[in-house]
Symmetry: none
DNA sequence: CGAACCTCTGAGGGACTTCTGAGCGAACGC
DNA sequence: GCGTTCGCTCAGAAGTCCCTCAGAGGTTCG
């Protein structure tokens, strides 16, 4: 097997790839350079090829050059509105997926109709895990899932997560999770046997504008333990001074 | 089994295909580019191959190239009216299905002549679920239903919907639904075990020009629950912060 | 032309989530 | 062994999300 030729994420996890095995290509369009940078960093970490643009015009130019599989697109752009860009993008590449970024109060407004075509949106402020998860969902549904285990279902030991149904179960028994708990567990499950620091977790699972303490991570880990590890051998472990790991129970 | 070669919708559901297994081909003709964009997005999401045209002349050109199985055709076009286009279309491809889009006040008698020929129409403003359902009906009747479970009947658990008869029953007992309730339930049943956000539901089940709040979705879910889940273990579940799911009762 | 029905708005209340703060115990360094 | 640091958990406040009721306005049908 040509492992060396295989496209992988920086975390070593196999990447979601295009059908020919080359990296997924994503165009990030946002007029805030800091946000665009953070986003593209997170997407590169997924093993994807990323390009950024700051306005509608350069977005179209970038789309022509990169021919992206997906576009992350801020609705509020200096030159045009998102709907016009959406149409032009689909003219350039009819099967491109679009993930809109919107302010909370812009929703309902000009976003109407976009989810009907299978595209999606997230409201600012968002967490990086959410953006990545939505993108993976879009790409998977568009037929980008060459990776066999990249179904809607994820497994670590006897812990199973179905992202589409938003269902988690351990040993067949269903577990109810709040939105934040779900996202935290998803992050852990996407990085099994890997120590994740509280700072890393905070950066990925909480919104980028979260001003609070790393203490919340401890709190939510404790919530998760109560729900996930209750009555079983623990899968969530503390590595003192370093962070947390999720790993399958060794028999 | 050639799973990879199988034509599927983006939602993972098997698609309605042509008898040879290739995607159904649809031509969308409307002079409003936004509407054409939303429509073609929704139809692509069904796994179909779509092409758009903005007037009668390019519609005919598109029909020559694409040789579509069905045409979604606005009656009011800038250059000709839809009925003239229909005649020319039938010369190009006699067995093509046509779904007319009309304003509410368009002359009824001319439309009546259409439906006699097996074609169909919807009045603006319409919901995308309605357009897709009508098209599926037309295509099915025209012999496009290679998919065996693509009959007029749909089942989730003990919940059964007959789309043609517009009848719904749970555990054999008939349920009366209003038009909106019916369409909402159809959307849920076409996406079982899949969390649907209020925005998604609004975009598909409500008319594209609906300006109201996502709150109506909650309201209609509550109506549906009273009729569908009354006296049974619930099938409609709220996923807080994410949306709603319909799933069969687990034994 | 009236009655029944359907759709949507608004408001109230309840349930759930999220985060802060504080106390306590365990692990670590010296 | 002792003090300090680190992490866990409880309790509660504030906020958010969701459900339901009641009723207005519109439409359809008899």
């Amino acid at each position: 097997m040509l492992v060396s030729a295989m496209n992988t994420t920086r975390s070593g996890r196999p990447a979601l790839t295009r059908p020919d095995g080359t990296p997924v290509r994503v165009l990030v369009v946002d007029d805030d350079p800091d946000l665009a940078e953070v986003l593209s960093g997170a997407l590169r970490y997924e093993g994807w090829e990323v390009r950024t643009a700051g306005d509608g015009a350069s977005a179209l130019a970038g789309a022509h050059e990169l021919r992206p599989d997906a576009v992350v697109l801020d609705v509020m752009l200096p030159d045009t509105d998102g709907f016009a860009v959406l149409r032009s993008l689909h003219e350039v590449k009819p099967d491109v997926c679009v993930l809109f970024l919107t302010a909370r109060d812009t929703v309902e407004d000009r976003i109407a109709g976009i989810t009907a075509g299978g595209d999606d949106y997230v409201t600012k402020p968002f967490s990086l895990e959410e953006v990545v998860a939505r993108l993976r969902g879009l790409l998977r549904r568009a037929g980008m899932a060459r990776q066999q285990e990249e179904g809607p279902r994820m497994t670590v030991g006897d812990l199973v997560m179905d992202e589409e149904a938003r269902e988690v179960s351990r040993d067949g028994r269903l577990i109810e999770l709040s939105p934040t708990e779900f996202e935290l567990l998803r992050f852990l499950m996407r990085n099994p046997r890997r120590v994740l620091s509280k700072a890393q977790i905070l950066d990925r699972v909480w919104s980028y504008d979260f001003g609070g303490q790393a203490h919340v991570v401890e709190l939510y880990i404790s919530y998760l333990r109560k729900k996930v590890d209750a009555g079983h051998a623990p899968m969530i472990h503390t590595v003192r001074g370093a962070g947390y790991v999720l790993k399958p129970v060794v028999r």
